[in-house]
Symmetry: C2
Subunit: 358 residues, 2 copies
Amino acid sequence: MRVYNFSAGPACLPEAVLKKAQEELVIYGNSGMSVMEMSHRSADFEEIIHRAERDLRTLMNISDDYSVLFLQGGASLQFAMVPLNLMTRHRRAYYVNTGMWSKKAIAEAKKVGEVIVPASSEDRTFSYIPELNADMFKGGADYVHITPNNTIYGTRYTKLPDTGGLPIVADMSSCILSEVINVNDYGLIYAGAQKNIGPAGLTVVIIRKDLIGRAPANIPTMLDYKTHADNGSLYNTPPTYAIYIAGLVFEHLLKNGGVPAMQKLNEQKAKLLYDYLDSSSLFKGTAEKKDRSLMNVPFVTGSEELDKKFIARCKEEGIVNIKGHRSVGGMRASIYNAMPIEGVKKLIEVMKDFEKNA
Amino acid sequence: MRVYNFSAGPACLPEAVLKKAQEELVIYGNSGMSVMEMSHRSADFEEIIHRAERDLRTLMNISDDYSVLFLQGGASLQFAMVPLNLMTRHRRAYYVNTGMWSKKAIAEAKKVGEVIVPASSEDRTFSYIPELNADMFKGGADYVHITPNNTIYGTRYTKLPDTGGLPIVADMSSCILSEVINVNDYGLIYAGAQKNIGPAGLTVVIIRKDLIGRAPANIPTMLDYKTHADNGSLYNTPPTYAIYIAGLVFEHLLKNGGVPAMQKLNEQKAKLLYDYLDSSSLFKGTAEKKDRSLMNVPFVTGSEELDKKFIARCKEEGIVNIKGHRSVGGMRASIYNAMPIEGVKKLIEVMKDFEKNA
């Protein structure tokens, strides 16, 4: 029996996608082989990667002004690639600090140039998104880096900062495809696949074309966005099977109403859970209400012992990976696109029952 | 129906592995979820990655003096990581040039330090392995880089050079696990998974522990071997599903006699094909006999038109991806571990029939 998997990532995938992948795992279509066995230069695989890109462009309404890249290394490698490629004119960039992943991005950028942190929410365990205003971004800089959704702390930006024209670089690992955005508001979007896109080992980068080709000549070839943009993500062997699964997810999303439908469902799921948290006398959400994430919902009982008991109870009920990150404690329900509303309802049911008997 | 897939990579995988992966794709064991959905910090996945490492250590007889790393980015990223991590004392390294992949490795290393090419086989389209002797490696240097098997040109080293104690760094992408080697002869071995290990998107690095920790402080965290060695390849989210499939391949190899049995089978398969090539009046192998690869067998008819006809004929017979690399032309049969001897026999049968009627 399948469980309700509230993991922060790698995370649950649509069951329909897994079943389709299972069906064609040994032989894909008329190819006589598994997708895992296909040359990345074969017509069959080229169709898979082109369709995946086309569907992602449709889903996010990505214009021809942007390149879509399928890379490896996760957001962690993007923390280095972004400054190595973009922090090359002013040698300075703004990084808003809203959590552990922002901090890791900052640490890598500092190896390349000057990092200015105009605002941080570290003073209250990153439980909110700091106010940002145009005055904060006045000096010359190459870009402004933000983390629109903070997986660990359950916060999200509800509006974009006015950067006075500086390109916004956004780590959307835990929120891509979860709500409608305007890609044109960004210079570069990156996301590890393992939350809303597909299996781990694939990173999606959406980059405005004028930002490609700014890297210094001595950058490792594999770290230069231009290498991958010029070769349609086929400079070297890409993570072919992960791209195939991502393509199935994109197809599944398109069939089910695209990002607007996902957003509606995600808002419903989040509202159910937050409404219950706000009414509960036992469980409390840890993020500030105004900045609550639609994807990651951390909450606590206030007692480590009760937290433990609750997590054990969840497991008995087929609810897994609900333990919170060590820096926040308690519980965290990651309710990405593929988490069905039934999973959220089941969780709330167990919470209510636990509260009654606590 | 499954075809005989002679692709140079991604390449055929053992059918038994694919079938097992298919069986447990939607639900793995008692986990209630797909391996693709598992947190990389979960007990289930930790068991998968630890078993994969343990089995690889058994297969290759890797001692505790070496770390085994599961990384991303393919050999192409290793071309940069190797010099960034290791070319740090003498800032100089030797690179033997035996083909296109050696050249790419050289180009990346030149961005980091001084590259000395003591020998090259470029004068005759890389159709042989140049003679190497200890005098070639006399100056101070950090390592000697070689490409033991050359996928495009079908050559392989039959003995290791005497480097006078300099660590040997070897790109074994297309020969790892195909024949018995002594890991202790190497400082660092790297291999993209997509030939003898598993799906694309996984890179295996086997590094002698004293070579870890030599990178400069400003190296991107993700490019430092120490990052991954210190964290058991779990610094960030690794390519979890690719590691799982690699683990299934390792298990399959162990069950079937390990690397010695593979070597025997690979020698049989290669001998069948080379013996036929040497007897044929139509088809000719392009690599020098003394340096012939066990994994990649390039051959030509001498007529582009006949080559084309032959490739088309193969396709009709369920033999695919037999077209040679553009730099050699003609055909190339990649006969990695997972290519059954029946596939090689079938190919020879078709070659014989084609020759008779040509």
